[in-house]
């Protein structure tokens, strides 16, 4: 996973609720078997509209996305955070996120920041004025507003830790669970 510490940048504003992962990366791009190269297809259909938010001059080169409530709802496709990160975003700030999208983002070092809707709207106003914002994971602040993220996730992100390696350190506990619980099914036996 890519480590995340702090980012300072102007921000792109996408003030729509319930943006689903089908919009973030449409299905025809899910046929690739690589993890990279999805950025050019980000919001593929919406970007055909010249006035789409990410096509506007002030959105160019931004590394922070300010979004509406329930951002990333719908399909579990991790291709959505891959596309956002590959396009150039390091953090997404929204009043709420789809659960799976949020989890997927944390796994790859794209920081999902949850703030109250009023604060997100204030940041949107500041971003529209061209102000640069800082998202600081060490201090757990975004544009000066404190946000919550548990210590475990924060450390994983700060250090870019491989969570599988962390879990494999608990191999003894996993083996003990397996020894105590006979598998209720076998996919080899059907």
């Amino acid at each position: 996973m890519r480590a995340f510490r702090t980012v300072t940048s102007r921000a792109a504003v996408l003030d729509r609720p319930d943006v689903d992962t089908d919009q973030i990366i449409p299905k025809q791009f899910l046929k690739r078997i690589e993890r990279t190269g999805f950025g050019e297809f980000l919001f593929f259909d919406w970007r055909k509209d010249p006035d789409f938010e990410l096509n506007r001059p002030q959105a160019q080169g931004t590394r922070i996305l300010l979004a509406g409530r329930n951002f990333g709802c719908g399909s579990s496709r991790e291709h959505a955070p891959w596309a956002l990160q590959d396009y150039g975003f390091d953090a997404v700030v929204a009043p709420s996120f789809g659960d799976i999208f949020k989890q997927n983002s944390l796994k790859i070092g794209l920081l999902p920041v949850t703030l109250p809707a009023e604060q997100v709207h204030e940041l949107m106003a500041r971003a529209r004025d061209g102000e640069e914002l800082t998202v600081d994971l060490g201090a757990r602040t975004a544009g000066g507003f404190p946000f919550e993220l548990d210590d475990f996730q924060r450390e994983c992100l700060l250090d870019g830790l491989d969570e599988i390696a962390l879990t494999l350190r608990e191999d003894a506990a996993i083996a003990a669970y397996e020894a105590a619980h006979a598998a209720p099914i076998s996919t080899l036996a059907v």
């Binding site: 996973m1 729509r16 609720p17 319930d18 689903d20 089908d22 919009q23 449409p26 299905k27 025809q28 899910l30 046929k31 690739r32 078997i33 690589e34 993890r35 259909d45 509406g68 409530r69 329930n70 709802c73 719908g74 399909s75 579990s76 496709r77 991790e78 955070p81 709420s96 996120f97 789809g98 659960d99 799976i100 989890q103 997927n104 796994k107 790859i108 548990d150 210590d151 475990f152 491989d162 969570e163 599988i164 879990t167 494999l168 608990e170 506990a173 996993i174 669970y177 397996e178 619980h181 598998a183 209720p184 099914i185 076998s186 996919t187 080899l188 036996a189 059907v190």
Partner: protein
């Protein structure tokens, strides 16, 4: 203090717990398909890791498969299907490949094989994994990084979600189906109403529902934002599972029944949130917008955004109506439809096909409509053909196709053209979901069938 069904399953799968970090849960069944797994297998290969428990892992081909000979698969789809076959061979994962006679939509074959059982933890790189909760399992969708984690460790690090119980009280009217119940619930909760929660569906209406109806309800939990939906196992569940290939047999069956009967939520258990819905008042549902919460009864009309209080909702509704090509106030029954799709992990099981066939028997699809039926699995297809349902559909002018996800998301050639309007039994009406510019209305199989016959939204009793 009593415990909920969810708490019992969660707590019995804890491998480790620690202050300030997520719980580590054991995974009993990991389902895999071709779209969300290639990068996970590649990650294992790069790190020199193996699949810890191939015997708890099962792969199928569903999203990309061509459902007819008229539509050859796209070369990129073929590459992805080949990659799954190679990965399964290399890592020892059992695979139900296209043409094996056992393939199908991952959320149809799990229950059908009897591998989806009460009390299990089940994950898959697919948000509709919530389906499997209908038997009393804790089942949820994960992303590709988590797929890799489960392949390597058979565990998943998760924060415990909150709990929400939705009780359906009253009596479901005769024309109403499980699909209508869940669409009405999403309409009431909103598409983010279940975020951060596991839902338990309960109440007399759920207790009387068939197993397949329960699968439909749990399937759409994610459309209200809830990662998992669950229903307490009961005699309906046990009768459904008994004798299936993956279910316990003999003495093991009796022992399993004892365990499963201890799973339902205790009378004195509490939920973080409770919602009660009167099923007596629910009618057939039709979505009008671009998410599943934008839904009204078939007797209703397209809503007027100007009447909405919340500014975000109003803007979203205006965008949705522009995309859908609809005017506020239009009666739902007057909306004309050019395509009908009966299929998907929501509504492609044998009961769904029987319900649709009962409506179309002896009638014919409207001349302006192209309609297709895509069974959820090779087994559903065989059973339907043994019952003669395929002949009812084809005689009526429906296309009868091979099993797969098909036009639910259009990763294969089954897609809408821009501007085409479709009555679909699937689960998502997002912009472009069934093809760029396509306009999707979510309905039950009975409404889809009736709509195909008359060319506009209709219920079975009207055709």
């Amino acid at each position: 203090m009593g415990r909920t069904l969810f708490e019992k399953v969660w707590e019995s799968h804890l491998v480790s717990q620690g202050e300030g970090r997520p719980d580590l849960l054991y995974v009993d069944l990991h389902l895999v398909h071709e779209v969300t797994s290639p990068q996970a297998f590649e990650g294992l290969r790069i790190a020199g890791r193996r699949v810890r428990r191939p015997d708890l892992t099962l792969a199928t081909m569903d999203h990309n498969v061509a459902t007819g000979d008229d539509t050859p698969a796209d070369p990129l789809s073929e590459l992805q299907l080949d990659a799954l076959a190679r990965n399964c061979a290399e890592f020892g994962v059992p695979l139900y490949a296209t043409g094996s006679g056992r393939e199908g939509i991952v959320h149809v074959i799990g229950p059908e094989l009897g591998l989806t059982q009460p009390g299990l933890t089940i994950v898959c790189g697919d948000s509709h994994t919530s389906t499997h909760g209908a038997v009393g399992a804790l089942a949820f969708g994960i992303g590709t990084s988590e797929v890799e984690h489960v392949l390597a460790t058979q565990t998943l690090a998760q924060r415990r979600p909150r709990s929400l119980r939705i009780r359906f009280e009253g009596v479901m009217p005769p024309a109403v189906t499980a699909k209508d119940l869940v669409l009405a619930a999403i309409g009431k909760l909103g598409v983010d109403g279940g975020v951060g929660h596991v839902v338990e569906y309960a109440g007399p209406v759920i207790e009387r529902l068939s197993m397949e109806g329960r699968l439909t309800i749990c399937n759409m939990s994610i459309e209200a934002g809830a990662r998992a939906g669950m229903i307490a196992p009961d005699e309906t569940t046990f009768a459904y599972l008994e004798g299936r290939a993956g279910a316990p047999q003999g003495a093991a069956w009796e022992a399993a029944l004892d365990r499963w009967r201890a799973l339902p939520t205790d009378a004195d258990a509490t939920f973080d949130r409770e919602v009660v819905i009167d099923a007596t008042a629910i009618r057939s549902q039709v979505t009008w917008g671009t998410n599943p919460g934008m839904v009204v009864p078939i007797d209703g009309a397209v809503p007027d955004p100007a009447a909405m209080d919340d500014a975000d909702d109003r803007a979203a509704a205006e965008r949705a109506l522009a995309y859908m090509g609809l005017e506020p106030g239009t009666p739902i029954r007057e909306i004309e439809v050019g395509r009908v799709f009966i299929g998907s992990c929501t509504n492609s099981r044998i009961e769904d096909l029987r319900a649709a066939a009962a409506v179309v028997r002896g009638r014919h699809v409207h001349p302006s409509v192209r309609a297709m039926v895509v069974p959820g699995s090779a087994q559903v297809k065989r059973q339907a053909e043994a019952e003669g349902l395929d002949r009812i559909f084809t005689a009526a002018g429906f296309e009868w196709r091979r099993a797969g996800c098909s036009m639910c998301l259009g990763m294969n050639p089954d897609i809408l053209a821009p501007g085409e309007r479709c009555a679909s039994t699937s689960n998502r009406n997002f912009e472009g979901r069934q093809g760029a510019g396509g306009r999707t209305h979510l309905v039950s199989p009975a409404v889809a069938a009736a709509t195909a016959l008359v060319g506009h939204f209709a219920e079975a009793g009207e055709v």
